[in-house]
């Protein structure tokens, strides 16, 4: 019968699509599972062959790696411990993200709403700072930072991340503001508010999902940056990426400690991204649903 044939093909279609979803999920999530496993293994279990996938059954899990990683004395000198590096990452990444998003949003609003002389050229200039690979400017920036006494400081590295995040924020937010009809602010201005009040009460609530979406990208960028922080902040205010790299250097590679540190390190980002995921979707699909 045609109905039963329809049913069969429908069920088959469902199965295939679920399989595809499962395969995709496996592809993306397995590395995380593997990292998590490594973080709860004894050093010997990490490299054992054949690999051991199932805790409690194939190997005895331990939280010792986390304890070592989180203690402030077990690894390296006093300043050079994982909790310090993590705190630095949070302070530097958080500050850079907040400042870049606020400054970039204000800049983007101005570009979107006012007649700025040489607007196209200025916007292109802002974008052009992202056009060459960062490594190319590594030496000049190192020399400039040294002259200004900025290496090994919070201000220096944060400034660098703000600068590299700004163009992205300006361009993303300008796109969002262009999609928000200017009549909203105008209505508020006629209703008795100043332009600044109108922006604060009407435009910012509208643009907030976009600001969150942009913030995620800037935060990840600062969170992951390795080259500059390795070179500039060797002595203090180092973030987690160079710290992780350092662990490799100590005699034999402590895979399970690295894994534990990495798990802790990605958690804030995963939590943040997860918390704003609805906004993220709305922020990214913003232009498609207006008017």
């Amino acid at each position: 019968m045609s109905t039963s044939r329809f049913k069969v093909s429908y069920v088959a279609g469902q199965i295939v699509s679920w399989l595809l979803v499962a395969l995709t999920l496996f592809f993306f999530l397995f590395p995380f599972y593997w990292m998590f496993l490594a973080s709860i293994k004894q050093p010997g279990d990490v490299t054992s062959l054949p690999p051991r996938f199932i805790p409690f059954v194939q190997f005895k899990p331990t939280l010792e790696n986390y304890a070592i990683v989180l203690s402030t004395s077990a690894m390296g000198s006093r300043q050079n411990t994982f909790p310090w590096a993590l705190l630095n990452s949070i302070l530097v990444g958080g500050t850079a993200t907040v400042v870049a998003v606020i400054l970039g949003t204000l800049t983007a609003y101005a570009f979107s709403r006012f007649r700025v002389k040489g607007e196209a050229d200025l916007l292109f200039f802002i974008l052009s700072t992202r056009m060459l690979p960062p490594v190319v400017v590594l030496i000049p920036i190192f020399l400039m930072f040294t002259d200004l006494g900025l290496p090994n400081t919070f201000v220096g590295i944060t400034l660098l991340y703000i600068t590299s995040g700004l163009p992205f924020v300006v361009w993303m937010m300008k796109g969002f503001f262009d999609e928000i009809p200017h009549e909203y602010e105008e209505a508020a201005m006629v209703d008795g508010y100043s332009r600044l009040e109108a922006v604060w009460k009407i435009v910012i609530p509208e643009a907030f999902p976009a600001m969150l979406a942009t913030a995620v990208f800037v935060l990840i960028m600062a969170w992951n940056e390795f080259v500059f922080v390795t070179l500039l902040n060797k002595q203090s205010w180092g973030t987690v990426p160079p710290f992780l790299y350092q662990i490799i250097g100590y005699g034999r590679t402590e895979w399970s400690r690295m894994a534990a540190a990495a798990i802790i390190y990605i958690t804030p980002i995963v939590v943040f991204t997860f918390a704003v995921r609805n906004h993220l979707l709305r922020g990214v699909t913003f232009g498609a649903v207006r008017r």
Partner: protein
């Protein structure tokens, strides 16, 4: 309440576009004036200058006794209704309406009382907790009007508020809006490109074209005595019949190939300079068709028939292939190709100077 006086307003946009060119309009206290014109004629720019959303290049704007040239919109005591309503999407209908009152820092109880009073008036009580996204376009428009009314401004400024509605809703809202304005008695400046809206709603109509004010008058004045060729062509449906002519001895109006020759009285002839190019205009209802022509009637042939039910519009072909539209009652049942006679209502002929576009009569 207050009058609006716009004096010699000029707005030049970057790139030297003269959007508004020396426009002067006076809206009396409590009057409903419609600013009418095709898109891009400068009517919205004029309105935005009055609101303070655009700063004029030169000229003065008074609201009441106050010169408001440099005053920010917030201080002008006006309400503005936008074409796309511009309701704040993250606020409920209630909060949208309350928004201007919160700017004025009114006590909560009074805000509540005034919002409900306005909601009552506009019959949107049941919609107050909804977000704009969940309102139909008609409901959104009511909320937008509510937001305008609630603060009891000196002046209403409305920018094509009915353009985005479907036809039947528009007709309803037209009536309601007119009624509301009369009830509140607030001086209103209303921008539209829809001549029906202008004729039906306005106590006065100001017609603009290419940044210039063409004519200000009551709807019937503008219809019956268009001051310029543009007004004659823009107002009225179907549009006025226009023909290039010159005045010749007789006196009569003759077109260039001489095939069209309309005798006119001396009173009219005295107003027209002889042997200069003129344009003659006559409305379709001022052409009377007879199926048995007598002397003095102009012969013509039925070219196209457009029955509208309550009346029929005939496109008539005169000697020399000139087409003119004529309205006739549906009882006159003519077919394409019928030979007819046409009597011109000569007292209602319009004559325009080609060079200036101004009406000579």
């Amino acid at each position: 309440m207050a009058e609006i006086r716009i004096q010699n307003l000029v707005k030049i946009f970057p790139g030297n576009t003269r959007a508004v060119d020396d426009v002067s309009i006076h809206v009396a206290d409590g009057e409903f004036l419609v600013l009418l014109g095709p898109s891009g004629c400068g009517k919205t720019t004029t309105l935005r200058c009055v609101a303070g959303l655009e700063r004029q290049t030169s000229g003065d704007i008074y609201i009441g006794k106050r010169l408001v040239n440099a005053m920010p919109p917030a201080d002008r005591d006006i309400a503005f209704v936008f074409q796309f309503y511009a309701l704040y999407p993250h606020l409920s209908a209630y909060d949208n309406i309350a928004f201007p009152l919160k700017a004025a820092r009114l006590p909560k109880a009074e805000v509540d009382q005034r919002v409900h009073q306005v909601a009552e008036m506009l019959k949107i009580n049941h919609l107050l907790d909804r977000r704009p996204k969940r309102l139909s376009s008609g409901e959104q428009q009511r909320v937008a009007l509510g937001r305008a009314i609630v603060r009891r401004p000196q002046v209403f400024l409305l920018d094509e508020p009915l353009t985005n509605m479907d036809a039947s809703l528009r007709a309803d809202m037209r009536v309601e809006l007119k009624h509301l304005q009369q009830e509140l008695g607030v001086t209103t400046l209303y921008v539209t490109h829809d001549q029906t809206e202008a004729m039906v709603m306005g106590q006065k109509v100001a017609v603009m074209d290419a940044g210039k004010l063409q004519q200000v008058g009551t709807p019937l004045e503008v219809y019956n005595h268009p001051a310029t060729l543009f007004v004659a062509g823009f107002i009225g449906s179907p549009p006025m019949n226009i023909l290039d002519v010159t005045l010749e001895a007789g006196p009569s109006l003759v077109n260039s190939d001489g095939a069209f020759r309309l005798p006119v009285d001396t009173a009219l002839a005295e107003k027209c300079p002889p042997r200069t190019p003129l344009k003659m205009g006559i409305r379709s209802e001022d052409l009377h068709i007879t199926s048995d022509p007598t002397a003095g009637d102009m012969p013509a042939e039925v070219y196209v028939v457009e029955p509208l039910g309550d009346e029929t519009i005939y496109s008539l072909r005169f000697a020399g292939n000139h087409l003119m539209l004529a309205k006739a009652p549906p009882t006159l049942d003519l077919k394409v190709g019928d030979k007819v006679g046409v009597r011109f209502e000569r007292s209602r002929l319009h004559i325009f100077d080609v060079a200036t576009g101004k009406a000579l009569r």
